[in-house]
Symmetry: C2
Subunit: 501 residues, 2 copies
């Protein structure tokens, strides 16, 4: 680092990195910018009025030949990037499953980028490996999993699930799929895995990727509250066995993406134990609620799982990306992925954790640092208080929906997501209702005041209000409720169902 | 965001995030810390004197119940984390393939964490999607690839290669592996893919993950400079066809991990065209050198590839993680991974880029921002100048090794990695030499002054000096050379080969 170099702007003038003093100057400027940004989010539109291609059209087609000043670049953030931003860190961000970049998490990321180490091996950065071990065991304790669960960080829930299903597949020892592949043993029956109709799309992606094929995923029926029916699961497994398939895995969900339904884990775990199937629990979003002792019932049975995914980057206020896969079968996961070429062999092998042994990624950044910052800054109680408040706000909103003659709720609210729609008196055609609610969602989002997304439940178009942003408080949730009513009145006044919106 | 909340330390006191003014205060403190850290790296040990478990042993076994102040947490970075850090951002970091977190890249990460958006869909953050489109096309132009190459960001080179091989597999249209899996068509011949003995371990990991099995990877012999032998490749393909296998893919490498050898791309590309095989080029590390017009010969033929991986987080001074997969067969990649559940459907589908369509990851953070910062701050010429200097320093070091009677070079230096070992006069037993060089590496690293790693070439233990850190200058490379000579003298004086080091 050229501490003594001139910090002339546009560092192409000399070799090496941006001079430390220039970093200091722009770092301070950017911290002020971020503090103002975070402080003013509530008065910023959450979703931009922007059309596809607008930002692209303003950027040069070719890269700059000579370096530009940091001032120019930061000015372009305001001028070009900001008008095309959807603000996930916004207190009125209720779409998809949210992610909160909390203050301590952002500071942790800054430090992590400055360190810029690779935690593939213990030796490649002892601190990164050991902090991952310690913080993941903290998370395990926080969510009440027994000590035999061991964790590893991947980028996201989809990756965690793919690695879990690879371990489930590896467990079929007699096939030695790692060595011979799925086509290597023509006598091997075709594998089947099970999840509910509401299981996440990452399960299908994993099945396709792992060479099992989309057809290896059998979707099991759900009850009227969108929970997997254990009896239907058992029937499916038996039917498949009779038909010559090899059932090997079940994915149960605590907090499905559409409506946060919670599969009946004790029953599913029993079936898996009896039928000798790997049980993977997708608690990517919902897992955070296990921090609350009073929510223990939602998670009863998950301690019998072989693997569980929880994303601290969803509802534990850690910035993207940080997903944790916990497993009681670390040896099986390791067997699926462990492969050490000469240039990665170290003297400590066997006596230390080398996280690269458990997955595809080799370039593993220092994600545990931001997790450590967030867990310590808020503390277990601080995180619990925030999640508890989100649950309260969701119940409050649900009650308001239930009490209103022109709105209805379409699913229970076990966590902090409310699935609702407008259903004004006199509207009874489902196609009309879908059109009305699609128009309602667009009208609400178009104001820039809120950002919600949708799903369909039994073919009904549903608005999803996901309350999991750390900055969201009662005020903002109530603003959504006011806006929904106002937008509906306006649509009905303009008879939007005929407008083709 | 509670802009008006008290910024009482330890924010568990009130709900919501860290107050903006507290973020501002600690942000400034941390920026100063990072600026000092970066400015003082040259006088910091690059590798710690730490034993496994030392950091772990100093951390509490259980998470804190109540929140702690940011001051306490930051103090623990100095007190606990720093003594266990291996510094990849250090000017004397020469191990593995390096990654440089340059100043503008670190600032980009800070901003990206503050935005904390998910770029899975255009609609989930238009700015993140469009900046990814623009910056990747800039990189494409910089490395001289034709306009039909399109890019997507994954976390690392191993993920990029896995996605590329999944696309190669998907290309076998008649098998419809996505739908039916690899065991779904018993009549389908077993698939084979090819890479040299020096191809990266991620190829094996991908083959195991994709259900092809490690045995589907056929390693082709290399010549005396560790480059894949085209004739041997052709022989292997023909032999496999005769034996009933289905050859479908070749992975060629520009810059193998052990010694940065460059496979003969024109010949390999010809074979792939004739035999109708998917050509994936692993240029994860080496690809950055394509920015230099004078290095065009190294890359001749790669424009015929179906897919190419280049990691800006390796030698383009972007902090971990950011890998780019370029492909001319975007449709095939999309077919392998595209799967849109209802809750991710948007009105713009078909008219915008939804990057989630091209892979496993759904939680995609805003990585393009740091790439944009780095490309603009240094400019194409600034990046080229730095890479060119690394190439010069490697040649200089190689010449010094060649001229020294007690050292020898074990591979050509097409890029900026020098594979060398001590070979003092009179030492002719290869086992002794391996022991000596292993001890030499340990002695050098133990000083804390440098961080190198090793490989084996033809069973010979080799020290790898990888010159790709943005902060590395001639001074530091020459320090390695002085240290290597001094450490060897010391080892020989102590007759280390008998010591069992």
């Amino acid at each position: 680092m050229q501490a003594t170099a001139s910090d002339k702007e546009g560092s192409a003038a000399s070799l090496g990195d941006m001079p430390a003093e220039e970093f200091r100057r722009y770092g301070h400027q950017l911290v002020d910018w971020v503090a103002d940004f975070l402080g003013n989010l509530d008065t910023t539109p959450v979703f931009p009025a922007v059309s596809p291609g607008e930002l692209r059209g303003q950027l040069p087609l070719a890269p700059p030949l000579t370096g530009e000043t940091m001032s120019t670049i930061l000015a372009d953030v305001d001028r070009l990037v900001m008008p095309a931003m959807a603000h996930w860190n916004h207190p009125r961000s209720f779409a998809y499953f949210n992610s909160s970049g909390s203050g301590p998490g952002i500071l942790g990321e800054l430090l992590s980028a400055a360190f810029n180490v690779n935690s593939m091996l213990w030796q490649s950065c002892p601190a990164a490996t050991e902090l991952e071990q310690v913080t993941l065991d903290w998370v395990r304790q926080m969510v009440g999993l027994p000590a035999e669960f061991w964790g590893v960080i991947y980028d996201g829930g989809s990756s965690s699930t793919m690695h879990a299903l690879a371990a489930a597949r590896e467990q079929i020892v007699e096939a030695d799929i790692r060595e011979f592949g799925l086509a290597g043993r023509p006598e091997l029956p075709r594998l089947r895995l099970y999840t509910s109709e509401h299981g996440h799309s990452s399960i299908d992606k994993a099945a396709a990727t792992l060479g099992l094929g989309l057809q290896s995923v059998r979707r099991v029926a759900v009850d009227e509250t969108y929970r997997l029916k254990p009896h239907a699961l058992l029937e499916a497994i038996r039917e498949d066995r009779r038909a010559g398939f090899w059932p090997f895995c079940v994915v149960a969900t605590v907090g499905t993406t559409s409506c946060t339904s919670v599969d009946p884990l004790p029953d599913v775990a029993d079936i898996c134990a009896r039928e000798r199937l790997w049980l993977h629990v997708d608690a990517a979003h919902g897992g955070a609620a296990a921090i609350l002792p009073e929510q223990a019932a939602l998670f009863a049975g998950w301690e019998q799982a072989d693997s569980i995914v929880i994303n601290p980057h969803k509802w534990m206020f850690v910035p993207l990306d940080l997903s944790v896969l916990f497993t009681r079968r670390r040896d099986v996961l390791r067997r699926a992925f462990n492969l050490t070429p000469e240039y990665l062999k170290t003297a400590q092998e066997g006596s230390v954790e080398n996280y690269m042994d458990y997955g595809i990624p080799l370039g593993r950044r220092f994600r545990a640092l931001k997790l450590w910052f967030v867990l310590r800054y808020f503390g277990v109680n601080g995180l619990a208080d925030r999640i508890r408040e989100h649950l309260r706000l969701a119940q409050q909103f649900a009650q308001q929906v239930d009490a209103h003659p022109a709105f209805e709720r379409l699913a229970p609210v076990p966590l902090s997501t409310v699935c609702f729609r407008a259903h004004p008196p006199g509207f009874d055609d489902e196609a009309d209702l879908n059109e009305l609610n699609s128009a309602l969602l667009q009208a609400m989002n178009r104001t820039g005041q809120v950002f919600l997304s949708h799903t369909k439940l039994n073919e009904r178009f549903v608005l999803r209000l996901v309350i999991s942003q750390i900055r969201t408080q009662e005020t903002q949730v109530q603003e959504v409720w006011q806006l929904a009513q106002a937008a509906l009145r306006s649509l009905l006044a303009n008879d939007v169902t005929g407008s083709g919106c």
